[in-house]
Amino acid sequence: VEDEEIRAALRRGDVDEAFRRFARAHGRAAYGPCHRIVGARATAEDVMQEALIAAFENRIKMMEVNSLRAWLITIAIRKAYDALRSARRSDRVRDAVAATDLDRDDRGVVDWLAASADQRALQDCLNRLEPDVHAAILLRYREERSWEEIAQLLGVQLDTIRMRVQRGGLKSLKLCLESKNVKP
């Protein structure tokens, strides 16, 4: 229903209202994966904003995808990995970001410490997966999207992504958790 209201606002040219609704309805769902991938709240919000804007500016997709949330999460996860890779590219820059984030990100640290050790281990293992596999796992098991939709969102063959999730994803996660002495 929310997605239809967003599209209706777009159709009548009320772009600001459409964006507000889009952000309110789905931004939070996109923030979670960003935060878990990049670690710092400020950076995660930055990435989430980029994803929201990038998604929103692709009006054709906005009008045609089944689930705006699933689509936004896919974009957000890819952008989060891009941000992580960029930050890792330069030690100097990474240190600067880390220093700034530490100053401004106390709540992020608190959230992280408050999560159970098992959740932290699972997140760490998820972050070791390929971005698309990571995205597909979240879309499949958290957002409960169909394989058809996931394949369409990621622009890959259905059988390929399903096989990568099951063989490369779930099995890797299980092994990774076992290596951390966490019972999967």
Binding site: A42, D101, Q119, R140, P184
Partner: protein, 214 residues
């Protein structure tokens, strides 16, 4: 269990079909728990005020072209990365009607030759930018480096401005709503905040931007 058996098991699990055997039921237990853990990962909440910041950023992206650092070596296409500061608005508000309170967003615009999406980190020469919206009354915007006032602007309605940084330090932006009385001249960031608050001014403060020289 062979790899093929294992794949078939995961297929059945995915389709929510019952296990084909007792052995398979045992083998799929860890995967069932794993999927349940994924489903139960906590739903992190973004910092307060994120919706208005997202909206402000969208307007900014639409309204301005990405800037390039012109003094970089020719041919290097610098990627402009906007390091949006968390614009948690701290209001020292004595005005009951929320609609009359202007919104302030500020950021340090980074222009780097890497595509880092930073979080406030920048270099000397980057700009501290601010945008004011929803301002029906005149406002004064002051930009401080550490405790020192380095720039000020005034305007009404929606407007923005920027200050080119000349030294590293902690940058802050203060928006003061001007009603009948002009705000007192600056005595430094901390004293200004104290004096403005004591005098009953509506003051909106941006979060800090730490500028670290790389």
């Amino acid at each position: 269990m062979t790899d093929d058996d294992s794949d078939a098991m995961l297929d059945r699990l995915d389709r929510r079909e019952p296990a084909a055997s007792k052995e398979e039921a045992e083998a799929r237990e860890p995967y069932e728990r794993l999927i349940s853990r994924i489903r139960d990962l906590p739903d992190d909440a973004p910092p307060d005020g994120w919706e208005s910041r997202a909206e402000a950023r969208r307007h900014q992206v639409l309204g301005t072209k990405p800037r390039r650092r012109r003094w970089l070596a020719a041919g290097v296409a610098a990627l402009a990365a906007a390091a949006t500061l968390i614009a948690t608005l701290v209001t020292y508000c004595r005005v009951p009607a929320q609609q009359t309170i202007p919104r302030l967003t500020s950021e340090v615009s980074l222009v780097e030759d890497t595509d880092l999406r930073g979080s406030g980190a920048g270099i000397v020469g980057d700009f501290v930018e601010f945008h004011v919206t929803n301002s029906r009354l005149p406002v004064e915007v002051r930009i401080y480096r550490d405790d020192e006032l380095v720039d000020s602007f005034s305007g009404t309605g929606a407007f923005g401005g920027h200050h080119k940084t000349k030294a590293r330090g902690t940058y802050r932006v203060l928006l003061i709503v001007v009603r009948d009385v002009k705000p007192p001249p600056s005595m430094g960031y901390i004293d200004d905040k104290r004096a403005l608050d004591a005098a009953g001014f509506t003051v909106i403060e941006s979060p800090e931007a730490h500028l670290i020289e790389l």
